[in-house]
Every structure is written in structure tokens, then in C-alpha cells.
Symmetry: C2
């Protein structure tokens, strides 16, 4: 059943059927009803491919992320999908992992499907070196690119993110105000926002963000799991390094810190304060419940989608939008 069949049954031309389908006003109420009845009776659905061919769009947006099962990214996807759908757009999901080569290949794949835009979720999409970001810049000449939680300069690249620098800066400061002075920082990503967070910590601690952190026992990069964090902290502790607070770039790492405290019989928050980042589900599941920095993911996603809608409507939209973080106080801090 196609538009010709409908037009025949209704005794009108396909042009009229098309007008009815697309809510074009220039149709008599009478013929409109006639057509609508046929459509209803025979259960006709317009062919989306044909429509896509004609309009050069299937109202679809590609969403790329490293790993959709990561709680933070999963939430982002959920928000984005919902917002896109309420604007009449479908979401094509693509999980890329963390390697640039793979990402480049997948982005090409998405491009070849002619999505109306592509959303990159997670600041890990923005690499340190220009060359590694070139593929994104290139893509932006074909479709609008939106970045959630990261930023990249470019003509057709729209970044929405949270001010992670001040997020960590504020967290460290609150710890200091509550009496902590030896504050450890653990992080697991050197992405755009990863670097911002680290800088926030260093600045709040009065260190120079330009200095290398290699020799600094209070700053540590991880790419392992929860138990590695626990083991590492235990080692530090046994080696006699003193610390009364831990700030982490991610709630997962903070869980490791809690496990360490438990294993070494250290009281939280009396002897050790802990602050995580992302305010994810696990912050509420842990015991004690984790104080965490909320990076306003829902607002960021919502802004990202509305920016994109603005682009589609050829309105003037900002290239970069920044929200500010908020500390959600639970049980691992003394404030």
C-alpha cells in the first residue's frame, strides 16, 4: 500500500494525498476526510525511506559514546533520547570504546547514514592533540556536531558542559573549610574535563597546574577498578603517608576509597572525608552514602538538544554553554 493506492481509492491525485499527510492547509475539508478515511481503512503508512530521499533527512540524530553501560553515559543517553524524541527525532546509538581509530570509523559510518546531527557524549571524545580531533572537525563540515560534557572549537560544533574546574575547586575548598588539609586527588581520565578537574584541585591546593604532577604523592592517575584504588590507598597508608581527605574524579573511585577506609578501620568522615564526582546512583548505594559533585547532566543534555534544534531551525545559537556544578552533601563529609 503506497501513496498511489491511496490516491486511487480516494479518487484524488497523489499530490493531494501528500498534502493531507503533511497537514498542508490547502485542501478542502471534504477531500481531506475522504483521504483520511482511506488511510485509516487500509492502514497506510508513508514510506520513510522515500520520504528521507526526498527531504534528505529521516529526522535522526546519531549519539556516540564510549560505553552505554557506564552509569553516567547511560543517564546522558536516556536524557538525550527523551529530549530528541519530544522534538520528533530518533536516536541512532553507537558505542565506540575509547580508541580514536575506532571512533573515526564509526563516525564515518554514522555520517554515511545521513543523520541530521551527531552528539558526542563524554569529554573523552576531546583529545589533547589537534590531529586526533581532526576527524571531528572534518565531520562538522557535513553535519552539526554537539558535544556533551566536553568542548571543542569549531564552526559547526556545539559544546555543552559543566564547569568541572570549579566543581573540584569548590569541593576541595569545602574540605579545607571543614578542617581537612592533606587532601588526596584520584582521577581516571585525562580527557578534556579530566584535565579541568585536576587543574581545579591543584589550584585549590595552591599548586601550579602547569607543573607536572609526577612526583606528587597526593595526586594519582588510575585506570583500574575499585579494588585497585583500595589496594593503592592501603599501600600509601602503610607507607606512612598522611591524608585526611580524598577527592575523586568519579564516584567509582570514591567507592574504592570507602572500601579502603573500611578495610583499615578508618572512620568516615571523622578521620577521613571523601567526595566523589557525578552524583551517580552508586553514591546513594554506598555505605556511608557518598558526598558527590553533581555535574548537572540533565540540564546539560537538555541544553544540548535544544541547541541542536536551534541549529536545525537556523536560529542563532551559542557555540558553548557552561553550567555550574553543585556539591550534594551526604555522609562522607563533615559539612
Amino acid at each position: 500500500m503506497n501513496i498511489y493506492d491511496v490516491s486511487r481509492k480516494a479518487g484524488v491525485s497523489i499530490a493531494t494525498v501528500s498534502r493531507v499527510i503533511n497537514g498542508n492547509s490547502n485542501v478542502t475539508e471534504k477531500t481531506k476526510e475522504k483521504v483520511l478515511k482511506v488511510i485509516e481503512d487500509y492502514g497506510y503508512t508513508p514510506n520513510a525511506f522515500a520520504r528521507g530521499l526526498g527531504l534528505n533527512s529521516m529526522k535522526t540524530v546519531g549519539i556516540m559514546c564510549a560505553d552505554s553501560s557506564d552509569p553516567f553515559l547511560a543517564s546522558a543517553i536516556y536524557y538525550l533520547e527523551g529530549d530528541l524524541r519530544s522534538n520528533g527525532y530518533d536516536s541512532l546509538l553507537c558505542c565506540t570504546g575509547y580508541e580514536v581509530d575506532v571512533r573515526e570509523k564509526y563516525l564515518d559510518l554514522l555520517l554515511s547514514k545521513r543523520t541530521d546531527a551527531i552528539i558526542l557524549v563524554g569529554s573523552n571524545f576531546v583529545e589533547g592533540s589537534k590531529e586526533k580531533n581532526q576527524y571531528i572537525i572534518d565531520a562538522s563540515q557535513r553535519v552539526p556536531i554537539a558535544i556533551v560534557n566536553g568542548a571543542l572549537d569549531g564552526n559547526n560544533i556545539y559544546s555543552t558542559l559543566c564547569d568541572d574546574y570549579n566543581g573540584v575547586y569548590g569541593a576541595v575548598n569545602k574540605l579545607k573549610e571543614s578542617g581537612c588539609s592533606k587532601i588526596l586527588y584520584l582521577y581516571n581520565s585525562k580527557s578534556y574535563s579530566g584535565i579541568k578537574k585536576l587543574s581545579g584541585y591543584l589550584a585549590a591546593m595552591g599548586m601550579d597546574p602547569k607543573e607536572p604532577t609526577e612526583g606528587n604523592d597526593y595526586v594519582r592517575f588510575f585506570n583500574g577498578d575499585i579494588n585497585e584504588v583500595k589496594d593503592y590507598l592501603t599501600t600509601l597508608h602503610n607507607n606512612g603517608l598522611e591524608f585526611d581527605a580524598i577527592v575523586t574524579a568519579d564516584d567509582n573511585l570514591a567507592i574504592g576509597a570507602i572500601k579502603y577506609a573500611k578495610a583499615c578501620n578508618i572512620k568516615v568522615p571523622e578521620q577521613l572525608s571523601i567526595i566523589g564526582y557525578n552524583n551517580s546512583l552508586i553514591a546513594e548505594c554506598s555505605d556511608p552514602e557518598l558526598t558527590s559533585v553533581d555535574n548537572k547532566l540533565e540540564a546539560v543534555c537538555s541544553n544540548c538538544v535544544s541547541t541542536l534544534m536551534g541549529v536545525f531551525a537556523e536560529q542563532e545559537v551559542p557555540l558553548k554553554t557552561v553550567f555550574s556544578a553543585e556539591i550534594i552533601i551526604r555522609e562522607t563529609t563533615r559539612f
Copy 2:
């Protein structure tokens, strides 16, 4: 730049270009190279809409789930997307929430996009009454439907799931073997698998699964959050109900149970054993770490996709595949 432009630049016909693109063998190596060079030089990408129109497929599968930020569903989506992609299929994501009306509407939307198949993730898609499932049956006459973690009878409906009945049955039995006798069961879904799990519990406890559970203090339905579970259990405890083990239909509920034990100074697992379900991330984040029933999600998803590929290839495939659950032992049980 379209196929005509390429054919002109390469001095061949569009048919030849098409053959080269689609890897058709009947092309001289020489002309093939000629065409390939033009494609490379001018950066030509075939138009997916036109191709879709001709082939009546854009190699896309719709994935529907209640909420992609739910850890369990997020994992499923991750596995499915990966498996589909390695088979050359894209994933169109659609989060529906839990209402049948909305789901029906969204399914129609997906259908109108002419996806090659639709995957329903989560047993909550299968309702108790036939009428409420009718829209799925109807859809299955248009495209193959796959159900992850649930089952529905139908000609073109392919179900892959875990044996949740025996998952819970086994968990309860292990508790009994380890000396528990007063075992509480908490659940939060009356979906297909929700009912199977409950039956497993009742059977293991020697109760009749057909009997209503209304008056039974040991069985409780929840649709609230972690803290409600904690409060409920505290009330039970204060009212003098004795229990030495809790089995839950979901890891989240089990976290509530752990929180209750902590609040009431009950030792886990010495005084109270707890077993969750799904073996999700939070099972490892909690303290003590949660013993949980693993329902083999990765295997289920992988099977779901390969079944679908079998359907596409018009092979003979099973309508229903069942995996068996496995108890992952951690710290909340005495075995």
C-alpha cells in the same frame, strides 16, 4: 556528489559504479580501480536513503526499553548494540517507560521508520493479559520481534531469556542448606519474569504458587526506592516478625535490605543472609558486597542478535531460548 557524478568522472556507467560499491565480482580489476580512485578522490558516499528505498532496508534494528539508564537495561543495550553493529546493523533506541499506551505509540513510530526488526528489552514488556500484548503480536506481522528476558508466543516473535524461576528457586535452596529457614522475598515487578521469580520462591518454600500471597508477611511487593525497603523491613523487625534471610528480585532492593541491617545493628551474613538479583554493578559497590543471581545477560543478548540474524538469513531458528542462572557468591551469604 552522487553515483552519476562518479560514473561520469570514471568514464563508466552507473551500473558499474554500483557493482564496484557493492563488491560485485563481475568487474575488471582495471575499471574497478578506476572507479575506486574517483570515489576516493572526490570522497563519494552512497546515499543511504536512496539505497534504503531500493532495498527496502536501511539495516537498522529498533531497540525498545523502559529506561536506558537502569543499569540492567543499560547493559543489555550495550551488548545488543555491539552485537548488532558487528553484524552490520545500526540501533535505533527508544525509551518507553512502563505504560502500555505509550509503548504502543512508540512501537508504531519505530515501525513507521521501517526498521528490519524490533527488540523489546526487559520482561516488563510482556503483560499478564492477552489484550495488552496484542500490539506486539500485531507488530510481529510486519517485522520480526525479539524479546530479551521475557517470552511471548507468536509466529514471528523470538524470545531469549534466563530461567528466573530456577534462579530464585536455587537461591532459596542454598539459603536453606546454609541454615536459613525464615526467608523473606521482596520484588518490584509483576512482569513475566517477576512472576517466574516469585513462583520459584514459593515453590522452594513449599508454598503453592497458585495461592494468593496477600496475607503472607514473607512476601512483599514494592515499587518504591531503596529507603522504602529499609523502612519497611525496620517496621517488620520492630513488629517482631522473625527472618534470617532475604531474597530480592533486584539488586536495588537488596541494597535496601543491607541498609536496614546496618541501621538495626544486624550482622550480615551472620544473623541475616541477603541475595540480590541481576548481579549488577552495585552488587560490587555495596558493603558488604552482595551475593547475587546472575541472569546471564550477555549470553542472552548475544543469542538474541544471532537469532535475529538467522531470521534475516531465512534460516531455521528457535522461537524461544532459555539460559540458566548462576549464583555469584559474595559477602552477604554464609556459603
